[in-house]
Symmetry: C2
Subunit: 218 residues, 2 copies
DNA sequence: AGGCAATGTTAATGCTATTTACTTAACAAA
DNA sequence: TTTGTTAAGTAAATAGCATTAACATTGCCT
């Protein structure tokens, strides 16, 4: 039964519901979303989704997974596209720019990914996906550190690379948030998110010195 | 009629509802909040709130205002507490640390402040309050630039200060988000938000050079 | 063919937002 | 003091939602 246009049984309702939810969320945001709408769009009754998802949150979790996978895919593409110049500031910056672009293109997804739904169960935090995204950035940083001879070699989990990757992720995320809240051009009408990110990344990376050296402070 | 324990008329239902909403949100998050609950807690019927607020969102907007004012107050206190060492890296860092602490203490408020409710009307974006918070940070940065002689004098809106303030706000916000999502100790179990912020701030500020000089790149 | 499990359905229940039509009380003017 | 007016309550109704329970259909395995 591969024909999904049948009568009683849908064929692949689970995926259809996830897709419908994704569409609805992109159209009207996650707060407006209702499970009834998703069922309607998938052409089934309002109770059918409960055969595939524990509750509304469970369905949203699956869309969140989708969103994280989408971001991950883009980051991978960016990494591969910059394979030639791997280890340069430009390669690192490109990851951040991709992050910003994703937030712009998939605004509702981006909001969903980082939505605070209070005390969530650990298994509902999408931690694996978040970790995967971080991994990509981390590798880019580690490559950078080695290429620029700031770090002699990379062991599996380099503390320094982790710290820098964290900082870069934080700043990309922060800029995305400020941009979505129209706070970037609050004072400087010409401020652009991309430009701010480039400057920040350069600022953070340029402050780095080879291991063992004393940092340049004031 | 200052006695609010009267029968029919409440006396100050508007404020009571905002307060009740704030409490409920801090207890269970903003998604779980219902206007009915707030009315119950304030001891009035479920329709009474509509005499004071257009709809649910309007009520939430007022709590958002409250949240922004709370953050603003803390930032002011931090600025004043560090008045003696104004213009130092420590003074700037302290603002960021206050931001992080607020996100921890008032997690639900923090989430509410940055909640993405899709395409909101401009008047519902709480822009004035966001701007005020930015102002405080901006002043701290401008003082820093002058004190450290990186900038000779501050004109009203210094483009450079604005850029740096934006970067610092972004990174503080990003770190707060990562912390709330338990992503800081994903790889480095010992990573602490405060420490990451201190390092980031130092990293960004230490890269600065007096105006006119060429930045230290690779 | 028969039976079972998966996956639908309809019909509740109980919650919610919001509106409408009424009610009460405070206040100001006559 | 009486009398309107108005702000600020109430109850009742509508409509939508999440979720569950009881029932129906179908595909698959034996």
């Amino acid at each position: 039964m591969t024909d999904s246009s049948r009568c009683y049984h849908h064929g692949n309702l689970r995926d259809a519901l996830i897709l419908a939810t994704a569409e609805l969320i992109e159209e009207s945001g996650s707060t407006a979303f209702s499970i009834t709408d998703a069922a309607r769009r998938a052409g089934v009754s309002n109770a059918a989704p409960y055969r595939h998802f524990r509750d509304k949150e469970d369905l949203l979790d699956n869309v969140r997974d989708l969103a994280f996978m989408g971001l991950h895919e883009r980051l991978e593409k960016t990494r591969d596209a910059n394979g030639a110049q791997a280890g340069t500031v430009a390669a690192v910056t490109a990851m951040g720019l991709t992050y910003l672009q994703y937030a712009r293109d998939k605004r509702a997804f981006f909001a969903l990914m980082w939505e605070d739904r209070g005390q969530m169960q650990p298994e509902r935090q999408n931690l694996p996906h978040k970790r995967e995204g971080f991994d990509l950035l981390l590798t880019a940083i580690e490559t950078y550190l080695v290429q620029t001879e700031i770090q002699s070699e990379l062991s599996g989990l380099n503390p320094r690379a982790i710290r820098i990757a964290t900082q870069l992720w934080a700043i990309a995320h922060g800029i995305a948030t400020l941009e979505q809240n129209q706070l970037l051009d609050l004072f400087d009408k010409t401020a652009q998110a991309d430009q701010v990110l480039v400057e920040s990344t350069e600022g953070l990376l340029s402050g780095l010195v080879p291991e063992g050296s004393a940092p340049a402070g004031h």
